[in-house]
Amino acid sequence: MVGLCQGLHEQVLYEHEAIRVVHGFIRQKIADMKLIVCVKQVPDVASPLRLQEGCIDTSAGRMVLNAYDASATEGAIAFTERYGGEVHAVLVGPPEGRETLRKVLAMGVASAVHIQVKDRAACPEAVPNALPEAQACAKILADHFNKETFDVIACGKQAQDTDAGLTPAMLAELLGLPFIGNAIALERDGNGRSGNHLLVTRQGDADQEITRIETPCVVSCSNNMCDPRIPNIKGIMGARNKPIDVKIVSRPAGLPGVHVQRYEAMPGRPRVRMLEEGWDKAIEALVPFVKGGPPAI
């Protein structure tokens, strides 16, 4: 059987044998999927961030795992707890990003790859002036995944700092894989442990769409998918022994450019006017919108 399968294209499925063949080797039962989450380290948006000459000073704040990526990680781990399989993580970012990888390892991710960009000043993740260079990130990730085997890439739907939400769809496009964005539920399609499709529920503008998607695929996750677990002591201790591979890559060149010229404070509102019983000002503001004009008394 093994001999017969060698040389076949990767991820050929022998459903009747319930055996999956990857690069000619029997890897594991068909049941188990390999999920990889892409995570980003971002400044904590709730921490004191200040503007300094048009830049955002993040030195006073702490860096955290992007909340949407935390949901993607939780969603992936919960998926494997239900159906079997394993979750790995990838982070593009400076050496300090290791802390964030430790966090996802403590949550239950098996191993991690830390991709660092050679020239740190040119790291596409650097806040603030090279933001939001989603294309560079997507390219770095696509180069990485082109050499990997996986069933599902799960990303957060956007990062809390750039709030752009471009990278997941860009990555899928570069890899030529099907993609679903803004997922709120991940399930395995078919009877329990067989089949290589996912059922993904996506929140659209009005409706929820439940879609069957082939693997390998890319999914971006909403934080409405789940509440990320807080790592326990056992998880934190265990994370110390889990491998983090560091890869150094060059910054991709020749990509369309987006430049942040400066940051400003959000246009503020005048101080609130607290209204007393009667609420005249608020009522006046609303009267023009009352439906059908003055009704007959």
Partner: protein, 334 residues
């Protein structure tokens, strides 16, 4: 001089208001930049039905992609064919700038489209201007904590626009439009996806991005009675009902009504926040509203920092009286 292309998204058989806002903004830019043109991409099983409305909003040229894959009852999710259709239009129209409404359908494909047409993308902007060979825009970032002033160079530059950033204005006279049919062929098998089921939001609900007034409920709305009070005020105003995450988790409002960082971004004329504390993530979705009225029993709630008018009181007592007072005032007309 610039060639501007917008995308008219259709939902529930109608062009969305946000698409018309994007089109109106493009017309405004075209008026300021001599020799500019405004074209609209429309993707539907029956684009013809919408031409009249596009003419009223001043479209000069329409690029129509017609295919049954875009009919409402189809087994193919819209994202892959929509990406292919828009890439086809961009190839034919050769625009300098493409302005898309920042709806969920667009958010899902903007990244893929940028790769496919090799263009820089400025997502979810609250304002933009066209320069020679570049676009300047403002983007709320850091959960709407800061405004980033960004600039992208390329042909085209892709921009997606937030709801309520500009007004949708009809032309006094409908424009005469040139219609271009864009060839389109899509192999459903290559999409790798099949739509199994669509869970429809309750019918008859007013779309959040389509109205001038939004009444939004927070965790303070605890039960059906509170929900009814919200709906009564909304009905009086013809307003859409929104909700914070807390109110949705309580099961009182559908997930499609979520306003905030992960839900919808709205910028209505008046936003009424009822029983909403004002968490960062919620405020990010409504901070562009012109007038904000906040009702909360905690006079120190953060929501009051983002409000024009504040009412400190229990919503169960305030709302009935407030709705009644508004009815009275509107009927006497003084």
């Amino acid at each position: 001089m610039a060639r501007l292309l917008t995308f008219a998204e259709i939902r529930a058989g109608r062009i969305t208001r946000l698409s018309l806002e994007a089109l109106s903004r493009c017309r405004e830019i075209a008026r300021q930049r001599r020799g500019s043109t405004v074209a609209v991409a429309i993707v539907s099983d029956n684009p013809l039905a919408h031409f009249e409305e596009l003419a009223r909003y001043g479209a000069e040229e329409v690029f129509a992609v017609t295919d049954t894959v875009f009919a409402s009852a189809t087994r193919t999710p819209r994202s892959a064919p929509l990406t292919a259709a828009l890439a086809g239009v961009i190839k034919q129209a050769v625009p300098d700038v493409v302005v898309l409404p920042s709806e969920e359908s667009v958010k899902e494909i903007l990244g893929a489209l940028a790769i496919r047409v090799f263009a820089p993308a400025l997502p979810d902007v609250s304002g933009f201007d066209v320069l020679d060979g570049a676009v300047k825009a403002q983007r709320p970032v850091f959960t709407a904590g800061f405004m980033a002033h960004v600039r992208a160079e390329g042909a085209p530059v892709l921009v997606s626009l937030r709801a309520g950033s500009y007004a949708a204005c009809q032309n006094p006279e409908p424009s005469s439009m040139r219609i271009r049919n864009v060839p389109f062929a899509f192999d459903e098998k290559v999409a790798g996806k099949t739509l199994r089921k669509v869970v429809k939001a309750a019918s008859g609900r007013i779309d959040l991005s389509e109205t001038s007034v939004v009444v939004a409920a927070g965790r303070g709305v605890r039960d059906e009675k509170g929900k009814r009070l919200i709906e009564e005020l909304a009905a009086l105003l013809g307003a859409a009902v929104g909700a914070s995450r807390g109110a949705i988790e309580a099961g009182l409002f559908p997930p499609s009504s979520l306003i905030g960082q992960t839900g919808k971004t709205v910028s209505p004329d008046v936003y009424i926040a009822v029983g909403i504390s004002g968490a960062l993530q919620h405020v990010a979705g409504m901070s562009g509203s012109r007038t904000v009225i906040a009702i909360n029993k905690d006079a120190d709630a953060p929501v009051f920092r983002h409000a024009t008018y504040g009412i400190a009181g229990d919503l169960y007592e305030v709302l009935p009286a407030f709705t009644e007072a508004l009815k009275q005032k509107a009927s006497t007309g003084d």
